[in-house]
Every structure is written in structure tokens, then in C-alpha cells.
Amino acid sequence: MEGSEAIAEAMVAAGCRFFAGYPMTPFTEILEQMAKQLPPVGGVCMNAESELEAVGMAWGAAATGTPAATGSTGQGLSLMQESIAELAMARLPLVVLNMARAQGDYWQATRGGGHGDYRTPVLAPMDVPEAVELTQRAFHWAATWRNPVLVFGDYYLAHTSQSVDVQPIDFGPAPDVSWALDGSSGGSGRAKLVSPLGTQKQRDDVGYDLSEHYLACAAATHAMLKGIEPMAEVALCDDADVVVVAYGTPGRYIRAAVKALRERGVKAGYVRPITLLPFPTEAVARAAEGAKVVAVYENNQGQMVDDVRLAVLGRTPVSFIGGLSLDTSGFGIAPDLDVTILGDRIAGALS
């Protein structure tokens, strides 16, 4: 099954019943799949007129407690930043897919370009089976923490077919959705409100205390970042001279390159962050202990490398071995993603 189809199936398995998006390769393929898969299960998929409209539609669906998702490439997510920030301040669950072109959107994903004191957890699958699991986990986290959650993929993930069987994953009891709008309390004087400005209606007698809402949001964000255990795959680091850090599709190439280096007698290991936010700081720090150098590969000019430096705190030299690599399509197919090329760079970081 192709990655796009598998991710769509995983969203449906996770209970997603509303999806909206605007076509852009390699996100388009997921939008097409959702248009096929949602109607038979009673869901709705909208081809919006723009990314702004798509995230707005998804916001509306999310406010009713319907598991909802949207997405795009990083370009489209730029347009959505304001709404993602407002969704976070309205404490609404939403899954946002970034089927990115290369990895230039790391900062956009992990820092966000919206306003305010919000954060969005980010999951970065390396292949199709992992994407099936993490996409479902994203819905669970979004509902649990009432916050947007990002899934960070790419062209390879969208277009690689792998043997995979999509089954719903049980993450435990369904989170409470009593906050959701259902239209039942209109005119009762007790109508619910879901808004970036809070859940209290302004009343003449008591006024309006925004600080209360913003502080509550900040506390919820803090609890979320403490409550989510950072995830990473760590291998061959115990005796490693060089520890490589890479995420997503490049993480798979790095794994193959590290294993090939081991066969040549080079003591290499790797850490593959699976959550980019919260970043697996402790896993990176532990893996770096005893290493001569930490090498960071990203298909960009160096973004995650800053988080790696924060993790090792100067105790181990950090060498950036990545760099933007694109073929003529610009979709993120990278000539540098070659096990031999990457192996040479890893070995080179030691010299």
C-alpha cells in the first residue's frame, strides 16, 4: 500500500471523520485518498479553495468534537499558521499533516509561525508502517491534550509502497469531549463557547478576564509538554565514536549507512528522533556520552542541529553533515539520500 493511502486509512481508523485540504504535491495524494475513504464511513472530505479555507473548515469541525484533520506541504502550512495558533488557544484538537518537500520546515513545525505562547507536538515517521502508528497516535494526543498535533512526512513517505496492514490502535479510554459544541444549549443562557479568547461569554456585570484564559492555556501547554514522553530510536551508540542524528526518511538512510559502516569496522551509532517536539533531548545527550563527535544529517541547511547542540550542551563536538539536496522536481527527492554518500560523510565527521 502506498504511504498516502496508508496514512489516510490510519486517519479513518483513528476515527477522523472530517478532512479538508487544498491540493499540493505530495499532500494531494492524501487528500484524494480521504475523498475516497471518508464518505463510506459517514465522514466528510472537502477540497477547499485554499489552505486558509481548509484549516478554517477543519477548525469548525473540531469545535463540534468531530475528530478532524487538515494538511498541506510546508508552503500551505505557512498560510495556516495563524489558525493553528488560534486553534491552540481555543484548546481544540486537530491533526495537521505536513507532507513536506525536503526538511526545510523543521523550525516551522517545531516552533510554529503563529502568535502566542503555544506549542504543537510533532511526530516524524520514517516509513509507512510507522506512519500508520504515529498518525493514529497524533489523533489520540490531539484529543487528550486538546491541541493541534503535527505529523511531519515527505515525498518518499507519500510515494513509497510497503506491505502494511492498517488496524485501529487502542490508546485507552476516549478523552472527554463535553466541551464540544452540539447546538443543544442555544437560548438556555448556558450556551458553550469555544474561542481563542476563552470559554466565558462577556457579561456586563462581571466583565471579561482574558488573563485567566491565557494562563489556563499556558498551564495546559506546560502539562502537555511534560505529559508526552519524547520518542526516539537509538541503536549502536554504546561504543560509538560517531553518533548520527537524523529524523524521518533520512533516518532510514542513516540507519542503513551506519550498519554498513559497522561492517567496515567504523564505530557508528544513531539516534532517530520520532517526536521532534518534545525533542528527545535526554536520549541524544545519553547517546553522545563517550562519542568523539555527534553528526547531524538533515535535508536542509541546518535546523534540528540547534536542538542537538542544546541536548549535548557543548560536551561533545557537533558536526553538521547535511545540506539541502533536491532533484529538478523540487518535491524533495534528494540525490544526497544515498547510503554510500551518507556513509562517507559520517566517516568524514570522525576525521
Binding site: P129, Y156, H159, T160, S161, Q162, S163, T249, R252, Y253, R255, A256, T328, S329, I333, L337, D338, V339, T340
Partner: protein, 179 residues
């Protein structure tokens, strides 16, 4: 043990279809399979390539591979990245009807199959990649001919089901040509 197949050609030769047929046949035989196809924006004549990895365990190899156990070369245009992945012992099938130039890699197991000529003889030039796929099955033993037959029916879109029989015939022609 993972076995790799890289298919390279130009848009319109059926590279992506052939890759899907091989992948589906291997899945039907209970193997773990990974397929990554990439192609340029042109419907006809642009670069098109596919990488298949087949194993008995979940595939560890990344979507594109540094070296390949086997290759199908349908055309000489855009072939250099695939030639760079050949290693001593790689089983290589060359479409000798249209491929111009040598495959100058030491130690490979090279087989010339006039796939486009055979496809024309069958009445449809578009089946050349199926001819090549049939020949590949016989030369490598990686998948059974019967599995390919079933995979063709699964891989063609509903509006092309009338072509299943011709494609199956092409698979057989390739199988025979590879003896």
C-alpha cells in the same frame, strides 16, 4: 536477505506498471515488499524509475538503494544513476531494441531482450515492459510467472481490464525469450 530491482526508462514505456506488477506478485507470494517510484513531469519521454526491495522480513532498506541485485533497463536516456548502482553479479536485463550504448560495468550478468520488438510482434508496443518482466521472472526466479499473471489483473485500472489478456501474453513472450 533483501533483493533489489531498479527499473529505469522513459515515460510511456510502462516502468511504473511493471514495478507494480512485480511488487504485487511478490506480495501474493507472501514476501515483504517495498516499492518507490519516481518520474518527471512529462507523460511521455521524461525520466522514470522505480526501486523494489523484496525480503522475507520487514524491509530495512531505504526507498532508494545504493547498489542493486538486479536491474531492468528499458532505455538509455536517464540510465546513469541506475548504472552507478550495479555491482559485480547484478542481473541486468537490457531492452536491446531501443537501448543504445554499452552497459560498461564489470562483472554484471547482462541479458539482452528485444522487448520492444517482441511487443510490436504481439500487436502492441506498450506491452514491452511486460515482456521484460516475464523475462526477468525467468532469469532471476524472484517471482513466479503465475503470480505475475494475477498481478497484471490487479494492477491495471478498471477501464483497462480488456488489456489484461494481451499483457499476460506479453509476460509469456518474455519468459520464452529469456530461455
Amino acid at each position: 536477505m533483501e533483493r533489489e530491482l531498479v527499473l529505469s526508462g522513459i515515460g510511456g514505456q510502462g516502468i511504473q506498471l511493471a514495478a507494480q506488477v512485480v511488487a504485487r506478485a511478490a506480495i501474493a507470494e507472501g514476501r515483504e515488499v517495498q516499492l518507490f517510484g519516481s518520474y518527471g513531469g512529462m507523460m511521455r519521454g521524461g525520466n522514470t524509475e522505480a526501486t523494489i526491495v523484496i525480503g522475507d522480513e520487514p524491509v530495512e532498506a531505504p526507498p532508494t538503494v545504493g547498489s542493486t541485485w538486479s536491474a531492468i533497463l528499458m532505455h538509455h536516456d536517464y540510465v546513469e544513476p541506475t548504472l552507478a548502482r550495479l555491482r559485480p553479479g547484478s542481473i541486468v536485463l537490457r531492452n536491446s531494441t531501443v537501448y543504445e550504448g554499452e552497459v560498461a560495468v564489470d562483472g554484471i550478468d547482462l541479458h539482452d531482450i528485444p522487448a520492444t520488438d517482441l511487443a510490436v510482434d504481439l500487436g502492441n508496443i506498450m506491452t514491452a515492459s511486460m515482456v521484460m518482466t516475464g523475462a526477468y521472472a525467468r532469469l532471476t526466479g524472484l517471482v513466479a510467472l503465475a503470480s505475475l499473471d494475477a498481478a497484471v489483473a490487479e494492477s491495471l485500472p478498471p477501464y483497462r481490464t480488456k488489456h489484461v489478456e494481451l499483457n499476460v501474453t506479453a509476460l509469456r513472450a518474455g519468459w520464452e525469450a529469456a530461455c
